[in-house]
Amino acid sequence: MANLQTNFAGIKSPNPFWLASAPPTNSGYQIMKAFDAGWGGAVWKTLGVPVVNVSSRYGSLNYRDTRMMGFNNIELITDRPLKDNLREIEEVKKRFPNHAVIASLMVETKEEWHAIMRDVTNAGADGVELNFGCPHGMCERGMGSAVGQEPKILKMIVEWVKEVATIPVIVKLTPNISDITRLAVAAVEGGGDAISLINTIQSIIGVDIDNFVPYPIVDGKSTNGGYCGPAVKPIAMNMLKNCAQHPQVKIPISGIGGVENWRDAVEFILLGASSVQVCTAVMHYGFGIIREMILGLEQYMDEKGFKTLDDFRGKALPNIVHWEDLNMKYKVVADINEDKCIGCQLCYTACEDGAHQAIGLSDDLLNRKPHIIEENCVGCNLCSVVCPVEDCITMQRKDDGKENITWKERTLAGDIPETFNDELAGGLHHWVPEPVDALSKKIPLHYKVK
């Protein structure tokens, strides 16, 4: 039976699912409700000098019938007095001693950092998370991502905190930087016990095209916000991977960014996360999503024979190599399952217009099922990802698996194109139609702009 017990840099929780520091962790009420529902931990809404917020605060990126595929906010840190938050932290810890309560912090001066560290430690917090990521509102005041984007300042503040810390210190990193590992290394150098990433991405979520103002609208004006939700997951995972693979970053990582089901959590753990933090999905569906996450994770671990999270943490990392180390002899081509094909021809038009003209249509108008022109297929996957039918287009391996030559090896052997018209150009002998053939191509009546 899978054991989800988590020990994150000394912070223990019954499972790796934590609520991220955000509106769902604004109060003891919400956090108790979440723990009661099954969440393992919660990072309290960032504490500091209370703010005053504006209305409205959130914007959503909807994709077709999917709401909140992406989400942004211009809400700031807590607007509640510190003493109220401390009292509630104490109350939650008393009621849920085995759950992780982490206080997110954001203050300015060394004295303030020392004071608030003492306060949250006395209140019983299991750890702290330094909010160096907030990309809106706070950074203009010299906090949040303003300090988080400067590795030297980040390191200095971590050092201040560590001077007085008796509980683990997590440093939350901002993605609004070209190389996040510089921040991770600075956090390590400052003595941080762990890092968490990513905070939100600076964004404009959308524009009201009738009133010429972006969302969310505050009396006819808007401002950049922090972007999160399922759409940021690929960005978060890449940054997680970069940190997890970095030789100087040996401290635990809490993964954040678009996690909403067990599968997302498994992906993050396979990329090196020791816990995952969730916000947008809870803001969308409520705390109840935890039951699907826990059941799914347990089932996955049982099926794979993983007893603890350590058994598969980082298991995908060795399989992420540099492009130049990929096997150039590996060759797949697409295969269309005719029995499953429904004849939408999306693969045809995607390949014809967006890739390598490697899919053909039948001359028989009654046969709508496209076919692969194998000699043109470069094995790019596009057709298989646009196909709306489950498992209809699959990629079939064509090489014999015996050869393995990487770009690095070819470079060393001098077997790479080096001049503009080099005979070694990869596409040199690949068939492409003549440009003017485009104008005589048989297309449906409605294909063009009228």
Binding site: R64, D65, K340, C341, I342, G343, C344, Q345, L346, Y348, T349, L361, R368, P388, V389, P444, L445, H446, K450
Partner: protein, 428 residues
């Protein structure tokens, strides 16, 4: 016992005849449009007689450009709203949807179409700028789908158009002959008003063309005449008792129902004869009016020309089917009291009933057609036209049921427009 209580008020009528393709809400349209795959060479387009760019208008709805969607529809089909509601989409666009091949519900194309065009109608959105008058005049006989479609297209190209309509309302079968649960009178007439406002053709209501003089006048005053007169009254069965009171033609019954709703009285027991879509409509409607209905068809169920979904619909409202029964005699003393049917094995059966409704085909309006010189019809009385819908008398074009013998509204709309395009080419 009938499943439906006889409606006494308009509200009760509307309840019994609630729309089978109700208008979509904004939310429903948004979610439904999201499902469209945007197929390449989309089969739904190819299945539409008017060739509407369906993937485009659905994508426009999804991108919250409902007016753009409505224009896409009207560019191909002037009866965009009505067709969305009355088309047999199950066998046309929606029947062709690739989702059918993966056991996923096909896109509700008809309802999306009515959603978008309905927005344009209620906003009175003007899409078209008419060409300057070219001085040419066309007379159109019949303000049904073929006639109005032709009128719109001709006006777009600067023709002066007069439509002569025998009835007091436009849109032909859309308001007079389609089952009320497919489209309401208001819906059909609102679209007609919207089109007339935009295209500015004149319609002369209650104006029948019945004499040689009428024809001569048209020929004198107009460069071309377009015949879109549809079909005539229900054909006679030529059996005994057909003259009795309470024997009705199906089209005549449907028209009465469309015009008078709950004010017409349908008796307890009705026998509907026939296996076509009009018979199905009449049977369904009698059942929804509270009658017990038996549908008797002279051949097998499989041989019925009606769409399968229409028979299924009739069954769901309580219509019972009897197959391989041929009517022999309508019984009664002054009024209908029953009908004698002969089964395939030759045995005779008598059913007691209060009404007999004949859904057994319509006549052609040969009285009118015979007034026109050199205009030829085929052996079934259908007007003979060439590929550009020109009749054997070169001054006349024709389309719609008078040419096809009875098709869908959408076919009449498509061909009325094609005829107009031919007239434009010929007279410009």
């Amino acid at each position: 016992m009938s499943e439906y209580k006889t409606p006494q008020t308009e509200e009760e009528f509307e309840k019994n005849f609630s729309q089978i393709k109700p208008l979509m809400s904004q939310t429903e349209a948004y979610y439904e449009s999201s499902r469209c795959l945007f197929c390449y060479d989309a089969p739904c387009v190819n299945a539409c007689p008017t060739g509407i760019d369906i993937p485009l208008f659905i994508r426009q709805i999804n991108a919250k450009n409902e007016m753009g969607a409505a224009k896409t529809i009207y560019d191909s089909n002037y009866f965009g709203y009505a067709c969305g509601k009355v088309c047999p989409t199950e066998v046309l666009c929606e029947g062709a949807c690739v989702y059918n091949h993966s056991d996923v519900m096909p896109i509700a194309i008809g309802r999306l179409q009515s959603f978008a065009t309905g927005k344009a109608i209620s906003n009175d959105k003007k899409f078209y700028t008419l060409a300057n008058s070219n001085g040419k005049k066309v007379a159109i006989i019949g303000a049904g789908p073929a006639g109005i479609s032709c009128a719109c297209e001709l006006r777009l190209h600067g023709f002066e158009v007069d439509v002569f309509e025998a009835k007091e309302k436009p849109s032909g079968l859309t308001v007079h002959g389609v089952a009320p649960y497919k489209i309401t009178n208001d819906e059909a007439l609102n679209e007609m008003e919207y089109l007339q406002k935009q295209f500015g053709y004149k319609v002369h209501y209650n104006k029948t063309i019945t004499t040689k003089e009428d024809i001569a006048l048209l020929e004198k005053n107009y460069d071309t005449i377009f015949i879109a007169i549809g079909l005539g009254k229900t054909s006679d069965l030529k059996i005994k008792g057909e003259e009795l009171e309470n024997v009705f033609g199906a089209v005549e019954f449907v028209e009465q129902l469309r015009m008078n709703h709950h004010k017409i009285t349908v008796p307890k027991k009705v026998v509907v004869l026939g296996g076509g879509n009009t018979a199905m409509d009449a049977a369904s409607e009698c059942a929804r009016m509270g009658a017990e209905v038996i549908l008797a068809y002279r051949r097998s169920k499989e041989e019925m020309p009606a769409y399968n979904f229409e028979y299924e619909l009739a069954k769901t409202v309580g219509v019972a089917g009897m197959f391989n029964f041929t009517p022999v005699e309508i019984l009664g003393n002054g009024k209908v009291s029953g009908i004698k049917l002969k089964s395939a094995d030759g045995t005779e059966h008598t059913l007691n009933c209060d009404w007999v409704v004949k859904g057994t085909g319509q006549t052609k309006q040969l009285d009118l057609l015979n007034l026109i010189g050199e205009l030829k019809t085929d052996e079934k009385g259908k007007i003979i036209v060439n590929e550009i819908f020109q009749t054997t008398n070169k001054k006349y074009f024709a389309a719609g049921d008078a040419v096809s013998g009875g098709q869908e509204v959408v076919n009449a709309v498509a061909n009325g427009k094609k005829a107009a395009i031919a007239i434009v080419d010929l007279l410009k």
